[in-house]
Protein backbone atom coordinates (compact mmCIF):
# COMPACT_ATOMS: atom_id res chain seq x y z
CA UNK A 1 0.00 0.00 0.00
CA UNK A 2 1.43 3.36 -0.95
CA UNK A 3 1.79 5.96 1.75
CA UNK A 4 -0.93 8.63 1.72
CA UNK A 5 0.31 11.95 0.35
CA UNK A 6 1.04 14.61 2.92
CA UNK A 7 -1.50 17.42 2.93
CA UNK A 8 -0.63 21.07 2.49
CA UNK A 9 -2.73 24.21 2.56
CA UNK A 10 -1.74 26.59 -0.24
CA UNK A 11 -2.80 30.23 -0.18
CA UNK A 12 -4.02 30.86 -3.71
CA UNK A 13 -4.91 34.40 -4.72
CA UNK A 14 -5.24 33.72 -8.42
CA UNK A 15 -2.14 35.74 -9.21
CA UNK A 16 1.04 34.61 -10.90
CA UNK A 17 3.03 33.91 -7.75
CA UNK A 18 0.54 31.79 -5.86
CA UNK A 19 -0.27 29.74 -8.96
CA UNK A 20 3.42 28.87 -9.19
CA UNK A 21 3.47 28.00 -5.50
CA UNK A 22 0.56 25.60 -5.95
CA UNK A 23 2.45 23.89 -8.78
CA UNK A 24 5.57 23.65 -6.61
CA UNK A 25 3.64 22.11 -3.70
CA UNK A 26 2.20 19.51 -6.04
CA UNK A 27 5.63 18.78 -7.52
CA UNK A 28 6.94 18.21 -3.99
CA UNK A 29 4.33 15.48 -3.57
CA UNK A 30 1.78 17.25 -1.40
CA UNK A 31 -1.94 16.74 -1.71
CA UNK A 32 -2.93 20.38 -2.03
CA UNK A 33 -5.80 22.30 -0.42
CA UNK A 34 -6.12 25.74 -1.98
CA UNK A 35 -7.40 28.60 0.15
CA UNK A 36 -8.56 31.84 -1.44
CA UNK A 37 -9.62 34.84 0.59
CA UNK A 38 -12.18 37.38 -0.50
CA UNK A 39 -11.36 40.43 1.60
CA UNK A 40 -13.13 43.26 -0.15
CA UNK A 41 -10.34 43.68 -2.67
CA UNK A 42 -11.01 45.64 -5.81
CA UNK A 43 -9.76 42.83 -8.00
CA UNK A 44 -12.42 40.13 -7.62
CA UNK A 45 -11.34 38.83 -11.02
CA UNK A 46 -8.38 37.34 -9.11
CA UNK A 47 -10.75 35.03 -7.24
CA UNK A 48 -12.28 33.74 -10.45
CA UNK A 49 -8.75 33.09 -11.68
CA UNK A 50 -7.99 31.16 -8.48
CA UNK A 51 -10.79 28.70 -9.19
CA UNK A 52 -9.44 27.97 -12.69
CA UNK A 53 -5.88 27.64 -11.47
CA UNK A 54 -6.84 25.26 -8.64
CA UNK A 55 -8.63 23.00 -11.09
CA UNK A 56 -5.84 22.97 -13.68
CA UNK A 57 -3.19 22.24 -11.08
CA UNK A 58 -5.10 19.43 -9.42
CA UNK A 59 -5.90 20.90 -6.01
CA UNK A 60 -7.71 18.28 -3.91
CA UNK A 61 -10.11 20.91 -2.55
CA UNK A 62 -10.51 24.66 -2.65
CA UNK A 63 -12.21 26.92 -0.14
CA UNK A 64 -12.96 30.57 -0.41
CA UNK A 65 -13.21 32.50 2.82
CA UNK A 66 -14.81 35.91 3.15
CA UNK A 67 -13.47 38.63 5.43
CA UNK A 68 -14.79 42.16 5.19
CA UNK A 69 -11.51 44.03 5.50
CA UNK A 70 -13.11 46.87 3.59
CA UNK A 71 -14.87 47.54 6.91
CA UNK A 72 -11.60 48.89 8.33
CA UNK A 73 -10.26 50.51 5.15
CA UNK A 74 -6.72 51.81 5.12
CA UNK A 75 -5.58 50.37 1.79
CA UNK A 76 -5.97 51.29 -1.85
CA UNK A 77 -6.92 47.65 -2.45
CA UNK A 78 -9.94 47.66 -0.15
CA UNK A 79 -10.91 51.33 0.14
CA UNK A 80 -12.28 52.90 -3.01
CA UNK A 81 -11.54 56.39 -1.73
CA UNK A 82 -7.78 55.65 -2.00
CA UNK A 83 -6.39 55.58 -5.55
CA UNK A 84 -4.21 52.70 -6.78
CA UNK A 85 -0.87 54.34 -7.64
CA UNK A 86 0.13 54.13 -11.28
CA UNK A 87 3.69 55.38 -10.93
CA UNK A 88 6.42 53.76 -8.83
CA UNK A 89 6.50 55.03 -5.25
CA UNK A 90 9.14 54.87 -2.55
CA UNK A 91 8.53 53.20 0.81
CA UNK A 92 5.56 51.00 1.62
CA UNK A 93 2.84 51.85 -0.93
CA UNK A 94 -0.85 52.59 -0.42
CA UNK A 95 -1.70 49.13 -1.76
CA UNK A 96 -0.39 47.66 1.49
CA UNK A 97 -3.30 45.99 3.29
CA UNK A 98 -2.81 46.16 7.07
CA UNK A 99 -1.95 42.75 8.54
CA UNK A 100 -3.08 40.95 5.38
CA UNK A 101 -0.58 38.11 5.40
CA UNK A 102 -0.99 37.64 9.15
CA UNK A 103 -4.70 37.21 8.53
CA UNK A 104 -4.26 34.92 5.51
CA UNK A 105 -1.81 32.71 7.39
CA UNK A 106 -4.16 32.58 10.39
CA UNK A 107 -6.95 31.32 8.13
CA UNK A 108 -4.60 28.82 6.49
CA UNK A 109 -3.47 27.65 9.92
CA UNK A 110 -7.06 27.08 11.01
CA UNK A 111 -7.84 24.98 7.95
CA UNK A 112 -4.52 23.11 8.23
CA UNK A 113 -5.38 22.14 11.77
CA UNK A 114 -8.81 20.84 10.74
CA UNK A 115 -7.19 18.83 7.93
CA UNK A 116 -4.43 17.48 10.14
CA UNK A 117 -1.85 19.26 7.97
CA UNK A 118 1.25 21.04 9.25
CA UNK A 119 2.48 22.46 5.95
CA UNK A 120 1.34 25.82 4.59
CA UNK A 121 2.54 27.30 1.31
CA UNK A 122 2.48 31.02 0.58
CA UNK A 123 3.70 33.00 -2.42
CA UNK A 124 5.42 35.85 -0.65
CA UNK A 125 8.44 37.25 -2.37
CA UNK A 126 11.13 39.58 -1.11
CA UNK A 127 12.77 40.47 -4.43
CA UNK A 128 10.45 41.82 -7.12
CA UNK A 129 7.72 42.84 -4.73
CA UNK A 130 5.97 45.94 -3.59
CA UNK A 131 7.88 46.47 -0.35
CA UNK A 132 5.35 44.95 2.05
CA UNK A 133 6.70 44.12 5.54
CA UNK A 134 4.75 40.86 5.74
CA UNK A 135 6.66 39.40 2.78
CA UNK A 136 9.98 39.10 4.62
CA UNK A 137 11.64 35.87 5.80
CA UNK A 138 11.68 37.05 9.42
CA UNK A 139 7.90 37.48 9.28
CA UNK A 140 7.49 33.90 8.04
CA UNK A 141 9.69 32.54 10.85
CA UNK A 142 7.74 34.54 13.46
CA UNK A 143 4.50 33.10 12.15
CA UNK A 144 5.81 29.54 12.42
CA UNK A 145 6.76 30.20 16.04
CA UNK A 146 3.29 31.57 16.69
CA UNK A 147 1.58 28.63 14.97
CA UNK A 148 3.27 26.10 17.21
CA UNK A 149 2.04 27.96 20.30
CA UNK A 150 -1.40 28.83 18.95
CA UNK A 151 -2.73 25.40 18.11
CA UNK A 152 -3.93 22.20 19.66
CA UNK A 153 -1.68 20.39 17.16
CA UNK A 154 1.32 22.46 18.28
CA UNK A 155 0.64 21.67 21.94
CA UNK A 156 0.53 18.01 20.98
CA UNK A 157 3.97 18.25 19.37
CA UNK A 158 3.26 19.10 15.72
CA UNK A 159 5.70 21.51 14.09
CA UNK A 160 4.12 23.80 11.54
CA UNK A 161 6.16 24.80 8.54
CA UNK A 162 5.36 27.80 6.37
CA UNK A 163 6.90 27.25 2.94
CA UNK A 164 7.69 30.38 0.96
CA UNK A 165 9.44 28.86 -2.07
CA UNK A 166 9.45 32.11 -4.05
CA UNK A 167 10.86 34.31 -1.35
CA UNK A 168 14.29 34.72 -2.93
CA UNK A 169 13.33 34.40 -6.61
CA UNK A 170 13.08 37.21 -9.14
CA UNK A 171 9.81 37.57 -11.02
CA UNK A 172 11.54 36.17 -14.13
CA UNK A 173 12.68 33.11 -12.19
CA UNK A 174 9.15 32.59 -10.81
CA UNK A 175 7.75 32.71 -14.33
CA UNK A 176 10.32 30.21 -15.63
CA UNK A 177 9.62 27.87 -12.72
CA UNK A 178 5.85 28.10 -13.25
CA UNK A 179 6.14 27.40 -16.97
CA UNK A 180 8.25 24.29 -16.27
CA UNK A 181 5.51 23.05 -13.94
CA UNK A 182 2.61 23.62 -16.30
CA UNK A 183 1.13 26.84 -14.96
CA UNK A 184 -0.98 28.68 -17.55
CA UNK A 185 -0.20 32.28 -16.67
CA UNK A 186 -2.90 33.44 -19.07
CA UNK A 187 -5.37 32.26 -16.44
CA UNK A 188 -3.79 34.26 -13.63
CA UNK A 189 -4.64 37.84 -12.70
CA UNK A 190 -2.15 40.09 -10.92
CA UNK A 191 -3.54 43.56 -11.66
CA UNK A 192 -4.67 45.64 -8.66
CA UNK A 193 -7.55 47.04 -10.71
CA UNK A 194 -8.43 44.33 -13.23
CA UNK A 195 -11.85 44.60 -14.82
CA UNK A 196 -14.60 42.05 -14.26
CA UNK A 197 -13.27 39.88 -17.10
CA UNK A 198 -9.82 39.83 -15.50
CA UNK A 199 -8.20 42.19 -18.01
CA UNK A 200 -5.25 44.08 -16.55
CA UNK A 201 -4.82 47.88 -16.40
CA UNK A 202 -1.17 47.67 -17.45
CA UNK A 203 -0.29 50.69 -15.31
CA UNK A 204 -0.30 49.69 -11.61
CA UNK A 205 2.72 48.49 -9.67
CA UNK A 206 1.66 44.87 -9.92
CA UNK A 207 1.17 45.07 -13.71
CA UNK A 208 4.55 46.75 -14.12
CA UNK A 209 6.40 44.10 -12.10
CA UNK A 210 4.60 41.30 -13.95
CA UNK A 211 5.24 42.71 -17.43
CA UNK A 212 8.90 43.33 -16.65
CA UNK A 213 9.10 39.74 -15.38
CA UNK A 214 7.89 38.24 -18.65
CA UNK A 215 10.32 40.47 -20.57
CA UNK A 216 13.23 39.46 -18.33
CA UNK A 217 12.27 35.77 -18.61
CA UNK A 218 12.27 36.12 -22.39
CA UNK A 219 8.83 34.58 -22.80
CA UNK A 220 5.65 36.02 -24.33
CA UNK A 221 3.39 37.89 -21.89
CA UNK A 222 -0.01 36.13 -21.99
CA UNK A 223 -1.71 38.85 -19.94
CA UNK A 224 -4.95 40.21 -21.36
CA UNK A 225 -4.82 43.99 -21.08
CA UNK A 226 -7.70 46.46 -21.15
CA UNK A 227 -8.02 48.31 -24.44
Amino acid sequence: MSQAAKKAVVLLSGGLDSATVLAIAREQGYETYALSVSYGQRHVAELNAAAKVAQRLGARDRRQMQVNLDGIGGSALTDRSIAVPETPTTGIPSTYVPARNTLFLALALGWAEVLGATDIFVGVNAVDYSGYPDCRPEFIRAFEALANLATKAGVEGARFQVHAPLIQLSKAQIIQRGLQLGVDFGETVSCYQADAEGRACGRCDSCRIRRDGFAAAGVPDPTRYQA
Copy 2:
Protein backbone atom coordinates in the same frame (compact mmCIF):
# COMPACT_ATOMS: atom_id res chain seq x y z
CA MET B 1 -4.77 71.75 25.51
CA SER B 2 -5.22 68.27 26.89
CA GLN B 3 -3.37 65.45 25.25
CA ALA B 4 -5.49 63.27 22.96
CA ALA B 5 -6.32 59.91 24.52
CA LYS B 6 -4.33 56.96 23.23
CA LYS B 7 -6.35 54.62 21.07
CA ALA B 8 -6.73 50.91 21.73
CA VAL B 9 -8.51 48.16 19.83
CA VAL B 10 -10.42 45.88 22.20
CA LEU B 11 -11.62 42.46 21.07
CA LEU B 12 -15.19 42.32 22.33
CA SER B 13 -17.09 39.06 22.01
CA GLY B 14 -20.03 40.07 24.16
CA GLY B 15 -19.03 37.64 26.89
CA LEU B 16 -18.18 38.36 30.49
CA ASP B 17 -14.42 38.48 30.07
CA SER B 18 -14.16 40.82 27.11
CA ALA B 19 -16.71 43.23 28.62
CA THR B 20 -14.46 43.49 31.68
CA VAL B 21 -11.45 44.06 29.44
CA LEU B 22 -13.22 46.92 27.66
CA ALA B 23 -13.93 48.52 31.04
CA ILE B 24 -10.29 48.07 32.09
CA ALA B 25 -9.01 49.67 28.88
CA ARG B 26 -11.27 52.66 29.45
CA GLU B 27 -10.17 52.93 33.09
CA GLN B 28 -6.55 52.99 31.88
CA GLY B 29 -7.41 56.07 29.83
CA TYR B 30 -7.61 54.58 26.36
CA GLU B 31 -10.07 55.71 23.73
CA THR B 32 -11.53 52.31 22.90
CA TYR B 33 -12.38 50.77 19.52
CA ALA B 34 -14.34 47.56 20.01
CA LEU B 35 -13.96 44.78 17.45
CA SER B 36 -16.43 41.91 17.32
CA VAL B 37 -16.01 38.99 14.98
CA SER B 38 -18.85 36.98 13.53
CA TYR B 39 -17.23 33.68 12.59
CA GLY B 40 -20.12 31.34 12.12
CA GLN B 41 -20.40 30.67 15.83
CA ARG B 42 -23.54 29.10 17.15
CA HIS B 43 -24.00 31.82 19.72
CA VAL B 44 -24.93 34.89 17.66
CA ALA B 45 -26.64 36.27 20.76
CA GLU B 46 -23.10 37.09 21.91
CA LEU B 47 -22.76 39.59 19.08
CA ASN B 48 -25.96 41.36 20.07
CA ALA B 49 -24.61 41.53 23.59
CA ALA B 50 -21.37 43.05 22.30
CA ALA B 51 -23.25 45.98 20.79
CA LYS B 52 -24.98 46.75 24.10
CA VAL B 53 -21.77 46.40 26.10
CA ALA B 54 -19.82 48.67 23.74
CA GLN B 55 -22.43 51.37 24.09
CA ARG B 56 -22.68 51.14 27.87
CA LEU B 57 -18.91 51.22 28.32
CA GLY B 58 -18.39 54.18 26.00
CA ALA B 59 -16.50 52.61 23.10
CA ARG B 60 -15.59 55.32 20.58
CA ASP B 61 -16.46 53.00 17.69
CA ARG B 62 -17.40 49.38 17.16
CA ARG B 63 -16.90 47.25 14.08
CA GLN B 64 -18.16 43.80 13.40
CA MET B 65 -16.16 41.69 10.99
CA GLN B 66 -17.46 38.57 9.29
CA VAL B 67 -15.31 35.50 8.66
CA ASN B 68 -16.90 32.27 7.53
CA LEU B 69 -14.93 29.87 9.72
CA ASP B 70 -17.87 27.49 9.48
CA GLY B 71 -16.52 26.84 5.97
CA ILE B 72 -13.62 24.89 7.46
CA GLY B 73 -15.49 23.31 10.38
CA GLY B 74 -13.51 21.47 13.03
CA SER B 75 -15.14 22.95 16.12
CA ALA B 76 -18.32 22.39 18.08
CA LEU B 77 -18.78 26.17 18.01
CA THR B 78 -18.89 26.46 14.22
CA ASP B 79 -19.87 23.00 13.01
CA ARG B 80 -23.40 21.93 13.85
CA SER B 81 -22.52 18.27 13.36
CA ILE B 82 -20.28 18.40 16.46
CA ALA B 83 -22.12 18.53 19.79
CA VAL B 84 -21.25 21.10 22.45
CA PRO B 85 -20.10 19.02 25.44
CA GLU B 86 -22.26 19.35 28.56
CA THR B 87 -20.00 17.51 30.96
CA PRO B 88 -16.42 18.48 31.85
CA THR B 89 -13.84 16.93 29.51
CA THR B 90 -10.10 16.45 29.84
CA GLY B 91 -7.61 17.92 27.38
CA ILE B 92 -8.48 20.51 24.74
CA PRO B 93 -12.25 20.33 24.21
CA SER B 94 -14.27 20.18 21.00
CA THR B 95 -15.26 23.82 21.46
CA TYR B 96 -11.70 24.79 20.52
CA VAL B 97 -11.86 26.77 17.27
CA PRO B 98 -8.68 26.24 15.23
CA ALA B 99 -6.46 29.33 15.21
CA ARG B 100 -9.28 31.54 16.49
CA ASN B 101 -7.26 33.92 18.64
CA THR B 102 -4.57 34.17 15.95
CA LEU B 103 -7.27 35.24 13.53
CA PHE B 104 -8.94 37.65 15.97
CA LEU B 105 -5.62 39.28 16.83
CA ALA B 106 -4.77 39.55 13.12
CA LEU B 107 -8.02 41.42 12.52
CA ALA B 108 -7.41 43.63 15.55
CA LEU B 109 -3.88 44.33 14.32
CA GLY B 110 -5.17 45.40 10.92
CA TRP B 111 -7.67 47.81 12.43
CA ALA B 112 -5.09 49.09 14.93
CA GLU B 113 -2.75 49.92 12.10
CA VAL B 114 -5.45 51.83 10.24
CA LEU B 115 -6.29 53.77 13.42
CA GLY B 116 -2.65 54.48 14.23
CA ALA B 117 -3.00 52.47 17.45
CA THR B 118 -0.39 50.11 18.88
CA ASP B 119 -2.39 48.76 21.81
CA ILE B 120 -4.68 45.75 21.55
CA PHE B 121 -6.70 44.35 24.44
CA VAL B 122 -7.89 40.76 24.57
CA GLY B 123 -9.76 38.85 27.26
CA VAL B 124 -7.81 35.62 27.24
CA ASN B 125 -7.48 33.89 30.55
CA ALA B 126 -5.22 31.06 31.63
CA VAL B 127 -6.90 30.17 34.93
CA ASP B 128 -10.64 29.44 34.77
CA TYR B 129 -10.67 28.69 31.08
CA SER B 130 -11.39 25.84 28.77
CA GLY B 131 -7.80 24.75 28.13
CA TYR B 132 -7.27 26.47 24.79
CA PRO B 133 -3.63 26.79 23.65
CA ASP B 134 -4.14 30.30 22.29
CA CYS B 135 -4.99 31.66 25.74
CA ARG B 136 -1.47 31.26 27.13
CA PRO B 137 0.99 34.07 27.91
CA GLU B 138 3.60 32.62 25.53
CA PHE B 139 1.07 32.85 22.71
CA ILE B 140 0.44 36.52 23.45
CA ARG B 141 4.18 37.28 23.45
CA ALA B 142 4.66 35.44 20.15
CA PHE B 143 1.88 37.49 18.60
CA GLU B 144 3.48 40.75 19.71
CA ALA B 145 6.75 39.67 18.08
CA LEU B 146 4.87 38.84 14.89
CA ALA B 147 2.96 42.14 14.90
CA ASN B 148 6.13 44.19 14.97
CA LEU B 149 7.45 42.31 11.93
CA ALA B 150 4.13 42.13 10.07
CA THR B 151 3.23 45.77 9.85
CA LYS B 152 4.19 49.01 8.20
CA ALA B 153 3.96 50.61 11.65
CA GLY B 154 6.32 48.00 13.08
CA VAL B 155 8.86 48.59 10.29
CA GLU B 156 8.66 52.28 11.10
CA GLY B 157 9.51 51.61 14.74
CA ALA B 158 6.14 51.17 16.46
CA ARG B 159 6.00 48.53 19.17
CA PHE B 160 2.69 46.74 19.42
CA GLN B 161 1.49 45.67 22.81
CA VAL B 162 -1.15 43.00 23.36
CA HIS B 163 -2.74 43.56 26.75
CA ALA B 164 -4.27 40.51 28.38
CA PRO B 165 -5.25 41.96 31.76
CA LEU B 166 -7.30 38.91 32.79
CA ILE B 167 -4.70 36.31 31.99
CA GLN B 168 -3.86 35.48 35.60
CA LEU B 169 -7.23 36.22 37.22
CA SER B 170 -9.78 33.70 38.42
CA LYS B 171 -13.32 34.03 37.09
CA ALA B 172 -14.41 35.37 40.48
CA GLN B 173 -11.71 38.04 40.37
CA ILE B 174 -12.75 39.02 36.83
CA ILE B 175 -16.34 39.40 37.98
CA GLN B 176 -15.34 41.53 40.96
CA ARG B 177 -13.14 43.73 38.76
CA GLY B 178 -15.92 44.17 36.19
CA LEU B 179 -18.49 45.10 38.83
CA GLN B 180 -16.15 47.75 40.26
CA LEU B 181 -15.86 49.24 36.76
CA GLY B 182 -19.56 49.34 35.99
CA VAL B 183 -19.96 46.30 33.76
CA ASP B 184 -23.56 45.05 33.63
CA PHE B 185 -22.99 41.30 33.40
CA GLY B 186 -26.70 40.78 32.77
CA GLU B 187 -26.02 42.16 29.29
CA THR B 188 -23.21 39.72 28.55
CA VAL B 189 -23.62 36.28 27.03
CA SER B 190 -21.08 33.50 27.64
CA CYS B 191 -23.07 30.38 26.77
CA TYR B 192 -21.82 28.31 23.83
CA GLN B 193 -25.39 27.57 22.81
CA ALA B 194 -27.44 30.55 23.95
CA ASP B 195 -30.82 30.96 22.32
CA ALA B 196 -31.68 33.88 20.05
CA GLU B 197 -32.67 36.02 23.05
CA GLY B 198 -29.31 35.38 24.69
CA ARG B 199 -30.62 32.98 27.34
CA ALA B 200 -27.98 30.52 28.53
CA CYS B 201 -28.23 26.72 28.49
CA GLY B 202 -26.73 26.40 31.97
CA ARG B 203 -25.03 23.13 31.04
CA CYS B 204 -22.04 23.82 28.76
CA ASP B 205 -18.47 24.35 29.94
CA SER B 206 -18.74 28.10 29.56
CA CYS B 207 -21.98 28.28 31.59
CA ARG B 208 -20.48 26.10 34.31
CA ILE B 209 -17.34 28.26 34.64
CA ARG B 210 -19.42 31.44 34.66
CA ARG B 211 -21.92 30.23 37.26
CA ASP B 212 -19.16 28.96 39.53
CA GLY B 213 -17.48 32.36 39.13
CA PHE B 214 -20.48 34.28 40.42
CA ALA B 215 -20.81 31.84 43.31
CA ALA B 216 -17.12 32.19 44.21
CA ALA B 217 -17.33 35.98 43.95
CA GLY B 218 -20.29 35.94 46.32
CA VAL B 219 -22.48 38.05 44.07
CA PRO B 220 -25.86 37.27 42.47
CA ASP B 221 -25.70 35.61 39.05
CA PRO B 222 -27.60 37.93 36.65
CA THR B 223 -27.53 35.36 33.82
CA ARG B 224 -30.84 34.68 32.12
CA TYR B 225 -31.17 30.92 31.78
CA GLN B 226 -33.39 28.96 29.41
CA ALA B 227 -36.42 27.44 31.12
